[in-house]
Subunit: 296 residues, 2 copies
C-alpha cells in the first residue's frame, strides 16, 4: 500500500506557482489576485476560506477577503459580485458555499464573470469541461486529477466507482475520469443515495472516489484488493482523546481499508491540500489569461 | 416484452405542439421558427435535416434551410450564425454536424446565441443541464427521456449502462439518467472504447443505452432478463433483399435481444422520431421564452 500524499503533491505545485509568480513580478507583470467572499459565520466555511487566503499569501498571490453578514440580500450579494467582475485588479472570484437560504446559489454562481470563475461552477466552465475544452475545473476534482497525475497513476480502462453526485465533487470527477485523457479513460459508475447494492458495486471498483460525507462508511469488505481509494470526505467526529475535542474522519475506515489498497489518500492530508492547489492553479491561470488578453 | 414506440410517443408530442402553435396564432403570437444550417452534401446529414424541416411544417412551425457549400470558411459560417443570432424572427438555430475539417465545430457551437441553442450543445446549455436547471437538452437524450416518461418507466434505483461517451448522446444521457428526477435517479455506468469487460457490465444492467454505432453489437447473451433496452444506433447495412439496397440496423440484434427485454426501442421507429420530437419541443420553448421576454 502506498500513500497518495496530498500535502507533498500540493507542496510541489505551490512551489512551482511561487516561482512563476515571482517571475511575473520580475517581468513587471500583474500579481494574481483572488477575491474570496464569505457570508455569515459558518465555522467550517471560515476555516476553508482562511486556508485559501493563507495559501495565496504563501505563493505570493494577493487576496481580498470580503466578509458579509448572514442576513445579506441576494441583490446586495449580486452587486458585490458585479463590482468584483469589473475590477481589473481582481483575477479570480470565489464565493464560499453554502450560502444562506434567502440567496439562490445558482443565481450567484451564474453572475460570476466566467473569466474569473476560479471555482469552476459557472455553467460556461462546466459546459466546456464536458466538451473536453481547456477551462476552470472545480478545485476538488481538479485536485484529485492533479494528485493522480503527480503519482503517475495509469487509469485508462480502470473501473472507477464515484459515490456522491454533487456538482462540486462527484458529478465533475465522474466526467473527468471518463474523458479521453490521462488520467482519465476510466469506465465510471456514478452512485448516490438512490443506488442499490452500493457495497457490491464498490467491490468491483479499481478506483473508488468516496464523496458522500459519511465518516468511515467504506469498510475493508467493500474494497477489492489492489484498489485505489480517493477519500474526499472530511467530517469532524467527537474525540475526547484529542486536545481539540474532535478528530477529522474520511469516508473510509482508513486503518482497515488501507492495507487492501494499492494507493490511498489519507484524511487529512489527501484531497484537502489538493483542493487548495487546484484553486491556486485556477487563480494563476485566470490572471495569465486576463492579463495577456488586456495587453493585446 | 413491450415496445417503446418512438413513432407513437413522438406523434403525441407533435400533436400537442401543433395545438399549442395554432393557439399562439389565435392569440396573435409569433410562430416558432427554426433555422437549419446544412454544410456540404453528406447524404445522411441531408436526410436528417430534411426530416427536421418536414417535422416543423407538420406542427405549423416556420423553418428556413440554409445550404452552404463544403468549402465554406469558418469566418463565413460564423457570420451566418451571427446573422441568425440577431434575427428576431429566428427562434432556434440548428447546425447539422459533422462540419468540414476547416471549421471548428466547438467554435461554431459556442457562437450560437444560447437563447436559440435548440440543439443544446452550447456550454451554457450543457452547464445548466448538469446543474439540474431548466434548459435546452440535446435532442436525442431529451427524446430518450421523453420516451421513458411517455411510457411511465420507473427508473429510480435502476442500474443504467450507457455505451458511448459522445457529447451528443452518451455523455448527456448518462447525466440525465443520474440526476435526481423521474425519469432519472439511476446508478449510471458510462462505457466507451477503453472499457474492459463491456459484456459483463451489460449483463448487470437494468437499462442499456446503446450509442456506439456498431450494428447488432448487443447480442442476447449480453442482456439480463427483464432489462430495458434503448437503442440509439442507426446504421445502413447492405441488404440486397430491399428495394433501397440497404437496411437500417440498430446497435442491438433486435430479434434475439427483444424477447429477453421488458421494454425495447425498435430501429427504426424508436429513438429517431423522439430526437425530432425533442428538437421541436426545444424550438417551441425557444420561441416562447424569447417572445415572452421581448413583450415585457
Amino acid at each position: 500500500m502506498e500513500i497518495l500524499d496530498g500535502r507533498l503533491a500540493s507542496q510541489t505545485i505551490r512551489e512551482e506557482l511561487k516561482l512563476k509568480t515571482a517571475q511575473r513580478g520580475v517581468e513587471g507583470k500583474k500579481t494574481p489576485h483572488l477575491a474570496a467572499v464569505l457570508v455569515g459565520n459558518n465555522g467550517a466555511s471560515e476555516t476553508y476560506v482562511n486556508a485559501k487566503v493563507k495559501a495565496c499569501a504563501e505563493v505570493g498571490f494577493k487576496s481580498t477577503l470580503i466578509k458579509l453578514t448572514e442576513d445579506i440580500t441576494e441583490s446586495a450579494l449580486l452587486s458585490t459580485i458585479e463590482k468584483l467582475n469589473v475590477d481589473p485588479d481582481i483575477d479570480g472570484i470565489l464565493v464560499q458555499l453554502p450560502l444562506p437560504k434567502q440567496v439562490s446559489e445558482n443565481k450567484i454562481i451564474n453572475a460570476i464573470n466566467p473569466l474569473k470563475d476560479v471555482d469552476g461552477f459557472h455553467p460556461v466552465s462546466v459546459g466546456k469541461m464536458i466538451q473536453g475544452l481547456d477551462t476552470f475545473i472545480p478545485a476538488t476534482p481538479y485536485g484529485i486529477m492533479l494528485l493522480l497525475e503527480h503519482y503517475k497513476i495509469e487509469t485508462a480502462g480502470l473501473h472507477a466507482v464515484v459515490i456522491g453526485r454533487s456538482n462540486i465533487v462527484g458529478r465533475p470527477i465522474s466526467i473527468l475520469l471518463s474523458n479521453n485523457t490521462q488520467p482519465g479513460n476510466c469506465t465510471v459508475t456514478l452512485c448516490h443515495s438512490r443506488t442499490r447494492n452500493l457495497e457490491a458495486l464498490c467491490r468491483e471498483a479499481d478506483i473508488i472516489v468516496a464523496a458522500l460525507g459519511k465518516p468511515e462508511f467504506i469498510r475493508a469488505d467493500m474494497v477489492k484488493g489492489g484498489a485505489i481509494l480517493v477519500d474526499v470526505g472530511i467530517t469532524r467526529v467527537a474525540d475526547p482523546g484529542k486536545k481539540s475535542g474532535f478528530a477529522l474522519k474520511g469516508d473510509a475506515h482508513f486503518e482497515s481499508v488501507a492495507p487492501k489498497c494499492s494507493w490511498i489518500t489519507p484524511v487529512p492530508g489527501g484531497v484537502g491540500p489538493m483542493t487548495i492547489a487546484g484553486l491556486l492553479k485556477n487563480t494563476f491561470r485566470a490572471c495569465e489569461e486576463q492579463d495577456d488578453s488586456s495587453e493585446q
